[in-house]
Symmetry: D2
Subunit: 280 residues, 4 copies
């Protein structure tokens, strides 16, 4: 339903990520090639980590990304070593800033492409399982944000893959009690500004697309005219909903049911499976 | 924290209510005389009942009312026999349409001036008490909307004064368990499009201002230059956070801890007191 | 670049025009079939004439039409005998309310699909030709609004086809002086609330699509499940950028270089050609 | 009608200027002490110069500054050596981004507090005097932006005080031809990112307030709890519509009809007077 991009590496101008590539995320907001919907015009968000603060900056708007002049301005001046960006195609919940990804908690960001099917049938059960200390911080009405708070409840800050596995398992159990089949459809990205995790998973085993770039040399080939990327350290990595250019060879598809972990330019792919969790 | 206006009577153009009076609600958005805040610029909403549908129209925006061209246009063309209008001064929750009053459920509207103090301390307890069927319909993040859904849970559609009394009692009990004193500060208005109820109450007995107009003859005196109001039936009634003009004599203050009920041009004032309710 | 719809006939709820048809204008905002762009998400506008005032209501917003809750609400309650609606795909000028169509001057509305090519090369010459009394009323920055004010300058209120012919001729002459070939691409609609004119024209003779419905019996067939349209008088007429349903047979394409005039349910098609006008 | 702030000196976080002071510009958006209007809620803008580009970043929004989450986020992460910020109280023109200050042309920014009285009476004459090359770049509908383009036409980029003197003289002459007395009311700020000029002038000699801070030692005293300002170089300077704190002694009022020029931490005050200019 949405599209997203995550970058980690040496500092870059945000516009080099969001506007310069041929099939850039901002272009995808108007014409996505691989998305479930061609148009992702129901708001967007960018989170970026710089040296001013461990807490990332967060710019979110309900306008289509292709129209937002302020996004263009910010992107031309914000330099960051980790960037998460998301364009939204609402699956029904309101178009408002508090429903735009990424969501933030302290230094953590979270963004999601996909859906928790028939969410309203078991939303209450999920929300009740959220740590009461965290509960009042839920600001919007999306399935994605509730999934974030569930993951936080299950220990995201300590062990992200384990916490996401338990959160997904909890959602599947709650949905099963309401007889909702195949409830989870997701590619998720989360980071604390130092390490980054991406997950590709769906209950029915037919997940939304996800790709990662493994080699900066290939990435430089992808953007021959982009001097900034040519100055990148070898540690630069991208994870994206769909490739940013035509050279598909530059990107590797993340397999089904996989967790990608990136730290200091090294990626590690491990199998991902929900952990049954009937209660928090 | 906010200001509101409720009208019931023969059909009027909405602009006659929102723009024409000297101290109109739109003027109050920029310069309120009696409000806790002089500026009420954090969004607004109008609900109106016409003959097209039992479900009222609902126009809500995050812009300051004084700036909204579309409100001006709508008001010049919408003719209604019941109108609820609200201008917002946020006490902290996000400025977004789903947080703008009035809130709607079927043919019912609800709007609130005031605050549930230290709301986050017991928000979870209130939300858990909402009927699970209604729970997924909560769209925003305000105390006011949760109070509405509590009242619906406690039978608003059957007996509004009793339901509001139980809802307020439940809030006070939940707050007491968290050691929050004087949690409720409110003037509330609700209607099903046929009858209208307004409540003035606060836990500490120092409630926000509330006034009602009892006599159309006086109201006509209030707006000597407004031909529309001169065509009003004798059944027209207004309830407002603050008088719409300088002729204070035209308005009667609603006493503390009072419920005003208006039906077919007759108002009835009865004492209002919360009913202790530890559970729904 | 845009899509539009014009209705004249017995009073209808606006939602019956904007939301109910299979390929409704709101659907076209997300997925247009025949438009130069599939997405028309850069704002929208609706003008409607009712019995309250000779001046039409005008609701314009920079949000995508498919997202706008207030448009949905207004449409469910506004009943009108003439409706103009427009969804915008900007060809470069800012996304702001003053650039949304329709434009209004007294009882007149104007909307445009198309573009004045290389507008900035001769914008100044066009603006200088606008009646100095009208000049300060230009509120936005689009080619479409300047074309409206030129048409007003050339006598739109007296003789619309002649005024539009002179305005288009003036634009072509001004563009020629700047060596801009084929400057005008347009389907235009204008009305005073009583009569309605639509123009299909382009300098190069390859104009944007335009259709009209001539027979209410066919229209009723088009919407078998729409009771409102079944109550329409025989005088109802629609002019649209693209058909609102799959039954193409229900619509007649307006020929190139044609003016459609509709009054009291009768349409008249006449050839349209610019009139050379070097000065106002 | 508006309020503004200009900073030049060693790099600071924008939030240290916009949010931290006691009577900060964001606070003034809700409650201005010295403004012609207490509320400046009709949009805002921030321009900032950093080391990424000679062209400043420009963030403008139609929301009240006090509500804008994105302004808060940007301010917490943007570090700049020159900052111009403006909060708007519209004197009638539309609330839209293209009407928000500062206005930008290449590396130049421009912002204005005040009004050209009875602007519509001579707007056409001013616009016609704008360099035809610059004419199509006028994006909004304000008097302030037209004044900027007039100043650019009269040589702002070569000699700002002379260009502003001629622009103001031209406005006064054009207004005189329409029998408009005292047309100009202004405090204006302009910069190319290296040097900064501020003007206080009005045709009737009763100009809006303007203050400058001359000594960083005093400024540090003003913000005892603000560590960033304590790290400022001695070259830091502020020019503001009204003092940012209660210590009025820390600020010097700019006299009537004066130009302030700041370069590398040295300010120079010279008399300012319009230069009669009947034509460009």
């Amino acid at each position: 339903m949405c599209r997203w991009l995550a970058y980690t590496g040496s500092p870059v101008l945000v516009e080099d990520l969001l506007y310069k590539p041929a099939n850039s995320l901002v272009m995808q907001s108007l014409h996505s090639h691989l998305g479930a919907e061609p148009t992702n015009g129901d708001g967007f968000g960018v989170g970026w980590y710089d040296d001013h603060s461990p807490v990332p900056g967060l710019f979110r708007s309900t306008e289509p990304a292709w129209n937002d002049q302020n996004l263009r301005e910010l992107s031309a001046h914000a330099r960051a070593r980790v960037v998460l960006a998301h364009i939204r195609a609402s699956s029904g919940s309101a178009v408002q800033q508090t429903n735009c990804h990424p969501f933030r908690h302290g230094p953590w960001l979270w963004m999601h492409n996909g859906v928790l099917s028939d969410f309203h049938a078991y939303k209450r059960d999920l929300v009740l399982a959220v740590d009461p200390e965290l509960f009042p911080l839920i600001a919007g009405s999306t399935d994605s944000e509730v999934l974030f708070y569930l993951a936080l409840t299950f220990g995201l800050e300590q062990d992200p893959p384990a916490a996401v596995a338990r959160a997904v398992g909890f959602v599947e159990a709650a949905a099963a009690r309401k007889h909702v089949p195949f409830p989870v459809q997701m590619t998720v990205c989360t980071t604390d500004g130092q390490r980054l995790w991406a997950f590709r998973y769906s209950s029915e085993g037919r997940s939304r697309s996800l790709f990662h770039s493994t080699d900066v040399a290939v990435l430089r080939e992808q953007y021959p005219d982009n001097p900034t990327l040519h100055e990148l350290s070898d540690s630069a990595r991208l994870v994206v909903s769909e490739p940013l250019g035509d050279l598909r060879g530059a990107w590797r598809e993340v397999p089904e049911s996989t967790c990608v972990r990136i730290e200091q330019g090294r990626e590690e792919l491990t199998p991902f499976a929900p952990v049954a969790a009937a209660t928090a």
